[in-house]
């Protein structure tokens, strides 16, 4: 197993480096840099700017810059954010936590709803409810996330039931711990719904497909032939088998989450890594951008790695490939 993990790491780490390099190159290729706007400002002397540029190696070529950046990363120094004027790591920490909360919420929401829904639809195949959920599933997969988010936010602002975006209410600090928690939950609802809907749609389909396949298996007929009640046949015998392939999906869905979350974060004003990325790009905040991209890719790869490990644990044959 350790062997397998090492092999996977050897595969993922170069990938991580490649991705970070590409990102670095991209933002570097952007015409100008953060200091352009400062250069216009007569209060800031050209010398000071030049000093900054030298300090961050902005006057040297891409490869040198990247090299220095890597060296710093290995010391866990993500650099300095020009826009926020604090070390990048500090900015990342809080944002990462926020994205993590949102991802966790979506994960729980989508899996807790999709799995039972998939089972239900498989057991009631061809009935009206199955067709209805199939239809909703299709809508859920097709609706653009930003459109759905905007619609929900519109209704939220119209009715005032839910907060229209953001992560904390204005008087957040005044709440008791329970109040803070509830406030957080209220703000989580819309982004979770938006991201979760397409997630649920996809997962439910998969689960339904797995269940349908399993229900056709011989051992299910055997279970019935033993005189077991139908609920036991389905939940104990069928579901237990249908769930297995879903384990592998788990890691992959992390990737989808991270990707889909960024746009929704921005629209719902959720202060996470995705929103940060946009800000960094807009202000050409070099180290923030590179650090954010690295963090995202790292989380992604972590997800894939965990998925691979769990799969290998469940199915020993995989390790020997």
């Amino acid at each position: 197993m350790i062997n397998y993990i090492i092999r996977r790491l050897l595969f993922f780490i170069p990938l991580l480096l490649a991705v970070s390099f590409i990102g670095f190159v991209c933002i570097n290729l952007a015409p100008g840099n953060y200091f352009d706007s400062l250069k216009q400002n007569p209060q800031v002397s050209q010398d000071t700017i030049r000093l900054y540029e030298q300090k961050y190696h902005l006057d040297q070529n891409v490869f040198t810059q990247y090299y220095y950046w890597l060296v710093n990363i290995s010391k866990l120094d993500f650099g300095y954010s020009f826009a926020y004027k604090i070390p990048v790591f500090e900015v990342l920490k809080s944002r990462m936590f926020n994205t993590f909360i949102l991802s966790l919420s979506v994960l729980l929401f989508s899996w807790l709803i999709a799995i039972p829904l998939g089972i239900y639809c498989a057991v009631n195949q061809y009935k009206f409810t199955d067709k209805l959920f199939s239809f909703f599933s299709f809508i859920g997969l097709s609706i653009p996330s930003f459109f759905f988010a905007l619609l929900l936010l519109y209704f939220a602002s119209l009715t005032g039931i839910l907060p229209a975006g953001g992560m904390h209410s204005l008087n957040y600090e005044a709440f008791s711990p329970l109040g803070k928690f509830l406030d957080l939950l209220k703000h989580l609802i819309i982004p979770t719904l938006v991201i979760g809907t397409s997630s649920i749609a996809g997962l439910q389909r998969l689960m339904r497909g797995n269940m349908l396949e399993v229900l056709r298996a011989q051992y299910i007929t055997t279970a019935r032939a033993k005189g077991l009640p139908e609920y036991r046949v389905i939940y104990l015998h069928a579901v237990r088998n249908a769930i297995n392939p879903m384990v592998t999906i788990f890691g992959g869905s992390l990737a989808g989450l991270l990707s889909g979350a960024a746009l929704t974060e921005i629209i719902c004003n959720w202060p996470g890594l995705g929103r940060l990325m946009l800000d960094a790009v807009m202000s050409q905040d070099l180290f923030l951008f590179a650090g954010d991209l690295l963090m995202i890719s790292f989380l992604l790869i972590l997800g894939y790695l965990i998925a691979d490990i769990v799969l290998a644990w469940v199915d020993p044959r995989i390790q020997y490939q």
């Binding site: 055997t222 032939a225 033993k226 009640p229 015998h237 237990r240 088998n241």
Partner: protein, 333 residues
């Protein structure tokens, strides 16, 4: 006032199970398949009955119909299956669940497919016991399972009880399935081609096992197979099925010595008897009819040597030509 589940006619005390005019059809996208078309089969208490026929003749569907395991797109259209005075086809879901596994059990063709890959065989064998008799404690159940494993001839039952199906060979898995089927001491055991997917040597062992268990427990045995030779050793009576209908029914001795239906005769003729290479293999020309598209009149007529005019027009009546010997042919003598 006769309760709804007792059929008034032909209530024969000697028959533990009686299939009357069973019709089970399958509905596909464009076509309807009449898998079982008017099967009448009385099964006497304690006997061993062989149900013989080629693939797709409806024997498995008949077995599944008895247990009411037919799922969409299949449907039992009409008929009665009388067991212990009740019509199984009219029972509620709860009632039929009480019968399955406890009174009537089924052994399947492919043992490894019939076992759930994620549970141990001990669990699967014991499951039925628990469900049919709530009084059974954990300890009792385990003891019973071990007893059963011994009875079916699985060596070292204490360690095997925690094995998963994929740890077992085909033969051992089939023994486990048999143990599972007998776990609640059913009155009737139906075995659907139990040895077809096993090696030849193992086949013999499993048939031996069936005989032994029958002697010990005395259940009624219905053996479904396409192998006529197998029947001669094991069963008391044989029913020959063709294209969804029973074409001949008689004691083993009668069938072997005086087969009446042309199909039965052809089946006997095609059993390889002689020394390899010295005798020509007899085959029955033609193919089994497509269940969705059966021939007119007698279903066997395209392949029959005795075919005459009215064989194409009318399906021959199923009648008792000799006492206890039923045939469905216009020209059976």
């Amino acid at each position: 006032m006769i309760p709804r589940w007792i059929s008034a006619e032909n209530f024969n005390m000697d028959n533990i199970l009686e299939i009357k005019d069973l019709h089970t059809y399958f509905y596909g996208e464009d076509l309807m398949t009449k898998a079982v078309e008017g099967v009448n089969l009385p099964v006497r208490k304690g006997e061993a009955l062989g149900l013989v026929g080629e693939s797709a003749c409806g024997k498995t569907v008949t077995a599944y119909s008895i247990m009411r395991l037919i799922q969409s797109p299949g449907k039992i259209i009409k008929g009665q299956i009388i067991f212990q005075g009740k019509d199984l086809l009219k029972l509620s879901a709860r009632e039929i669940q009480a019968i399955r596994g406890k009174e009537i059990s089924l052994v399947f063709q492919e043992p490894l497919a019939a076992l759930n890959p994620v549970y141990t065989i001990g669990f699967q064998i014991g499951e039925g016991i628990r469900f049919h008799d709530r009084e059974v404690s954990n300890k009792n159940q385990k003891e019973k399972v071990l007893e059963l494993l011994k009875a079916v001839g699985i060596p070292e039952p204490e360690s095997r009880i925690n094995d998963y199906p994929h740890n077992l060979s085909g033969g051992q898995a089939q023994r486990a399935v048999i143990a599972m089927a007998l776990s609640c001491n059913p009155q009737v055991l139906i075995a659907d081609e139990p040895t077809t997917s096993l090696d030849v040597t193992v086949q013999a062992q499993i048939m031996e096992l069936f005989l032994k268990l029958r002697r010990e427990k005395g259940f009624t045995f219905i053996l479904i197979t396409h192998n006529l030779a197998l029947c001669s050793q094991v069963v008391d009576r044989v029913a020959i099925m063709y294209a969804g209908k029973i074409v001949e029914l008689a004691t083993t001795e009668e069938i072997f010595n005086h087969p009446l239906h042309p199909y039965t005769k052809a089946l006997f003729a095609s059993i390889p008897k002689g020394i390899a290479g010295k005798e020509k293999l007899e085959t029955i020309g033609g193919q089994v009819p497509d269940p969705a598209n059966k021939p007119s009149g007698c279903y066997f007529h395209p392949r029959c040597r005795l075919k005459k005019e009215n064989c194409l027009q009318a399906y021959p009546e199923y009648r008792e030509i000799k006492p206890g010997h039923w045939v469905s042919c216009h020209y059976a003598i």
